[in-house]
């Protein structure tokens, strides 16, 4: 069975995410789809699986044009997607998961025996011997759970299997098992669309590679025609079009220092941020960027290592302590962790003062108007509930909340995610202003051009470790090389 997607375009609320993308996958082939974060890979998969409907373009299976109005249609047409996040029920058995919603019924009852037989047959077919159909999913390793996801896809007679970053959650030795499994799928004539940005497995598996950039297809080539460095350049090579505020020219003393910082997902991190400096943290999904910020902030504290603020060792065992010591953190998930949505702009802006610096709350209340002007908030008023604000304005409220506390160190986790271009620029300006005023800023951002544009220095994480440090204006290729663990250029950072 072959898949052909042609001229796929998709935009959300006027923002184009996919532009005229062509992609075809042949039976028995592994076709790798690569690109940076935000290139449109996941959106393309969602179009293929019927979650999103394309604004233009066609999807054909075996030459026959199909319309997938919902995921069920795609499934019935033989398309299965293995998502980044697993969709398994942890307390059920493998067989129950594989047949979820399609349980064989005999005399009005679920036919457990038939279900387990069928599952066992599928497991045997792909050569899985590590567990049986009656194993409880919760007890399986992540790699084994992935196998269950794949068996689940096979049980629906999927002939086209798309995998979205299947190795993101796997340990090194498990990756080999997965690549084996993918080869067995293609041997059965299944067409595999493999989304990843990890060079080693792409080159180990793929027959052909399609590169997406900014929602458009750059090229499709056979793997034999490409070398990893060429591929990286194709993924990121673009002119830096956006404007970023000018970088700092001089820095103060070291404000934040982490020595040997170790937590469940990160180990042995050494880094410093000076007053006036914006340090970017780069890395792939799961490299430990958020974990690093949360550890510094005391939300999930370091299990080993030291944190120094202005040269003095501190124990930041909770956010409350970190805040009292002068650390602020803008979290990645604004709605779940950044705001009390049913409260007013003013309430949110004053929350840190009310919580930690009570004595300053009265003064803060008088300053709220200035503060909101500083962050450039446009809203109906201070009494507006924040849930009615746009994403950009909500983020400005979050920033106002932290600036009210006059922090020394500002941790930013994806500070511009999901906000419009204008608000992004405003956030960039604001961050730079605060740095100039002497704050030390540590910023995580998945958009590489933005990270490079904003940073005075970039720390790149790879699998929980510091893979290297790059100076201001490093190229995206250098960052990606370190982040993918492919080649480690030793660049000295001028001090």
């Amino acid at each position: 069975m072959t898949l052909a997607m042609a001229g796929i375009s998709k935009s959300f609320l006027g923002v184009g995410v996919l532009h005229d993308v062509d992609l075809d996958v042949r039976a028995g082939e592994v076709h790798a789809l690569v690109g940076e974060n935000g290139a449109g890979k996941s959106t393309l998969l969602k179009v293929l699986s019927g979650v999103h409907q394309p604004d233009a373009g066609t999807i054909a299976i075996d030459g026959e044009e199909r319309t997938f109005a919902n995921p069920r249609h795609a499934q019935d047409a033989g398309v299965a997607i293995i998502h980044q996040e697993f969709t398994l029920l942890p307390e059920r058995t493998v067989a129950q998961n594989v047949f979820l919603g399609r349980e064989p019924v005999r005399r009005g009852l679920v036919d457990t025996v038939a279900m387990e037989h069928a599952t066992a047959a599928l497991l045997a077919e792909i050569g899985e011997t590590g567990f049986g159909p009656d194993a409880v999913v919760r007890r399986l390793s992540v790699a084994q759970q992935q196998v269950v996801e794949i068996v689940k896809a096979l049980a629906t007679d999927a002939r086209i299997v798309a995998m979205d970053e299947p190795t993101a959650a796997l340990a090194e030795h498990e990756v080999a098992l997965l690549t084996d499994l993918v080869r067995r799928l293609t041997a059965r004539g299944i067409a595999v669309l493999y989304v990843s940005h990890r060079m080693p497995e792409i080159f180990a598996l793929a027959d052909r590679i399609t590169v997406l950039k900014d929602g458009a297809r750059v090229t499709t080539l056979t793997a034999a025609e490409l070398e990893p460095p060429t591929l990286v350049r194709l993924m990121v090579g673009r002119p830096l079009s956006a404007y970023y505020p000018p970088r700092a020219t001089e820095f103060g003393d070291v404000r934040l220092e982490v020595r040997g910082g170790t937590a469940p997902a990160i180990s042995g991190i050494d880094l410093t941020v000076r007053a006036g400096e914006v340090v970017g943290v780069a890395g792939l999904q799961g490299a430990g960027r958020t974990e690093l910020l949360r550890a510094i902030f005391g939300a999930d504290p370091f299990t080993a290592g030291d944190v120094l603020l202005d040269g003095r060792p501190v124990r930041l065992s909770s956010p409350r302590r970190a805040i009292a010591a002068g650390v602020a953190m803008v979290t990645e998930d604004r709605k779940a962790e950044g705001l009390a949505l049913a409260q007013s702009v003013r309430e949110n802006a004053l929350l840190v003062l009310h919580a930690v610096f009570r004595r300053r709350a009265r003064v803060g209340a008088a300053r709220t108007r200035d503060l909101l002007a500083t962050v450039g908030l446009r809203s109906a008023g201070e009494d507006q509930e924040v849930r009615f604000l746009s994403g950009g304005n909500q983020q400005k409220v979050v920033l106002a909340k932290w600036l009210a506390a006059d922090p020394r160190v500002l941790l930013l986790d994806e500070p511009t995610r999901g906000i419009d271009v204008g608000a992004k620029a405003a956030v960039h300006e604001l961050v730079r202003e605060q740095a100039e005023a002497g704050m030390a800023v540590l910023m995580v951002c998945s958009e590489l051009p933005e990270l490079i544009g904003m940073s005075d220095r970039i720390c790149v994480l790879h699998e929980g470790r510091l893979a290297g440090e790059l100076p201001a204006g490093a190229s995206e290729e250098d960052v990606m090389a370190l982040a993918t663990g492919h080649g480690v250029p030793h660049v000295e950072v001028p001090r």
Partner: protein
């Protein structure tokens, strides 16, 4: 600028309903509008209103306190047995009751926040523990009696020349209301509501979420202690004195427009909810409806009030002025 409607917000209906009910009572019984009669109504309503204030702190922080009714019973029964008519024992026993209230609130709060037991279960357990303990201790019939001075706050009043007697209950209620209103305007009050709205965000903003919630449980138990002292004086000693009060208090808070689950609603509206409930009972009584129907009426009210709040919340969920940006393709 903020309009009056915004300012009163979800609380507006409860004050309107209260006014309507008071007018209705006055129509059935014109004497109701006399000061003495109004003050008597306040005196009856005071224990429940104080319990509602305590319950408000817990509910707005996102929890429940089901233990207050049996705590009231325990306090009254313990007081009667320990005082046993001895005037000189009054003050030490009141101190002891306050200590007991503190302890019960602290245990409720710590179990809920530190052991992560849902407060519904924690306080339901506490309700059973307390009522079992009372039963064991009294063998079903409370012994002893309260002293005159213990009963004074619930029964007597202070004479104000040219106005008549103002019940202590009413004064205590006003003091509790004023104290609660001030507390909710303090930094602590702001952190309490934020905790109920989004405890993760609150914790990441430095709010000591566990301590704030535990304090709410302690305040609720202290309110129950005050209510117990008033009820002991007003209604006397029985093993049923606090029965069902936890649900009356929750009904009152919900009537006040305070959202179950936390983060929304004002303390004075919760208090007004208690006054509405008491006014409703007064009206039903005047109309000759059996007192046995009280719990039925309460059940209907709590369901209706929550359904009303859910509808309001549904209508409030209008789309944001600026559309959310596109989902981030990873």
């Amino acid at each position: 600028m903020r309009t009056l409607r915004d300012r009163v917000g979800a609380a507006a209906p409860v004050f309107g309903v209260l006014l309507l009910l008071l007018v209705a009572i006055a129509v059935v019984n014109p004497n109701f509008l006399e000061p003495a009669s109004l003050l008597a109504y306040l005196k009856r309503a005071a224990p429940l209103a104080i319990l509602a204030v305590g319950q408000y702190f817990v509910i707005v922080s996102g929890e429940f306190d089901l233990s207050v009714g049996s705590l009231v019973t325990v306090q009254v029964v313990v007081a009667a047995r320990l005082i046993d008519g001895d005037e000189s024992a009054t003050v030490p026993v009141i101190v002891l009751l306050i200590g007991l209230g503190l302890l019960v609130g602290l245990v409720n709060g710590l179990i809920t926040t530190r052991l992560h037991v849902p407060s519904f279960v924690t306080t339901l357990g506490m309700l059973l523990v307390l009522s079992g303990a009372v039963f064991l201790w009294t063998g079903g019939a409370p012994r002893g009696s309260l002293s005159e001075s213990f009963r004074e706050p619930g029964r007597q009043g202070i004479d104000i020349p040219g106005f008549g007697q103002v019940p202590w209950s009413a004064l205590i209620l006003i003091a509790v209301a004023a104290g609660a209103a001030v507390l909710m305007r303090s930094a602590w009050g702001h952190t309490l509501v934020a905790t109920g709205d989004n405890d993760r965000a609150a914790a990441l903003a430095g709010v000591p979420v566990e301590r704030v919630r535990t304090t709410a449980f302690v305040l609720s138990a202290l309110a129950a202690t005050v209510a117990a002292i008033l009820l002991g004086g007003f209604a006397g000693v029985s093993a049923q004195v606090g029965e069902g009060l936890e649900f009356s208090a929750i009904t009152a808070v919900v009537l006040g427009g305070v959202v179950l689950g936390g983060g929304r609603g004002s303390v004075l509206a919760a208090l007004a909810g208690a006054l509405v409930l008491e006014a409703l009972f007064t009206l039903l009584n005047l109309l000759g409806v059996s007192g046995a129907l009280e719990s039925t009426v309460q059940g209907v009210i709590i369901i209706a009030a929550v359904a009303y709040a859910a509808r309001r919340a549904g209508r409030r969920r209008r789309p944001p002025a600026v559309p959310e940006p596109s989902p981030q393709p990873a």
